[in-house]
């Protein structure tokens, strides 16, 4: 029994490590900041470690960890009270600390737009569009219906298009993005 336990423990740690970069990227997406994200990941690791026995071996550890992290994120937000989000302020601080991590200007614009999404839309599009979860898995992680996730992803896409289409090209109206693409495609 104890030998089996030890083998499981090692598997647990190995799987936990394998999931960490993805889990951390999810935390950065939720919090919008590396320092807060890493604190959140640390709390998640502690919680996961303490609750190893509640993890069913052979099931999806990544989904289990994402669920813990997400619950932790929202429960901490509730405890602290919703912090007033000043996206631009947060981002200027973030970029001054790690400008090299975000590269080009259009990626900074994207980060700002992503940060402006409502939490439920942001987590939905990140889980499905970047973290590699199926709609069903994302729904299980967020504790909602599959249809809800689908509509949140769709609304998130629309909102991002609005935010990015308008940003910097408001003079040209809503079709500026398409016009620019057409212009580039024809080499003008």
């Amino acid at each position: 029994m104890s030998k089996e336990g030890e083998i499981d423990d090692r598997g647990f740690k190995r799987d936990l490590l394998a999931s960490l970069p993805n889990l951390r990227a999810f935390a950065v997406s939720l919090t919008g900041r590396h320092d807060k994200a890493d604190d959140l990941v640390q709390d998640t690791i502690m919680k996961a470690w303490a609750n190893q026995t509640s993890f069913t071996a052979g099931t999806n550890m990544r989904a289990w960890l994402f669920t813990i992290l997400r619950n932790e994120f929202y429960s901490q937000m509730r405890k602290r009270g919703r912090e007033v989000q000043d996206s631009d302020g947060l981002f200027s601080e973030r970029f001054s600390v790690h400008p090299e991590q975000y590269g080009r200007l259009d990626m900074q614009d994207f980060r700002k737009a992503l940060d402006k999404l409502p939490d439920d839309q942001r987590e939905a599009i990140v889980l499905v569009g970047a973290a590699g979860f199926a709609y069903e898995e994302a729904a299980a992680i967020c504790g909602c219906a599959v249809g809800t996730i689908k509509s949140r992803v769709s609304r998130a896409r629309t909102r991002l298009q609005e935010l990015l289409g308008v940003s910097g090209e408001s003079d040209y109206g809503p079709d500026a993005g398409d016009a620019a693409i057409t212009a580039r495609a024809f080499g003008s």
Partner: protein, 47 residues
């Protein structure tokens, strides 16, 4: 179609950039400490 594809690509680009940063030392150290604490507790049990 085009704007959607561009948004999906940017989202993955951002996400992958964070993933590619790898695992910060603080987490490796934390797991090491957790592992060690568990081993110590077990060896006490055996004695």
């Amino acid at each position: 179609m085009q704007p959607n594809a561009s948004i999906s690509r940017k989202l993955r680009e951002f996400y992958d950039a964070v993933q590619d940063e790898g695992i910060p030392d603080r987490f490796m150290e934390l797991l090491e400490r957790l592992d060690q604490a568990e081993k110590n507790a077990k060896s006490v049990d055996v004695k």
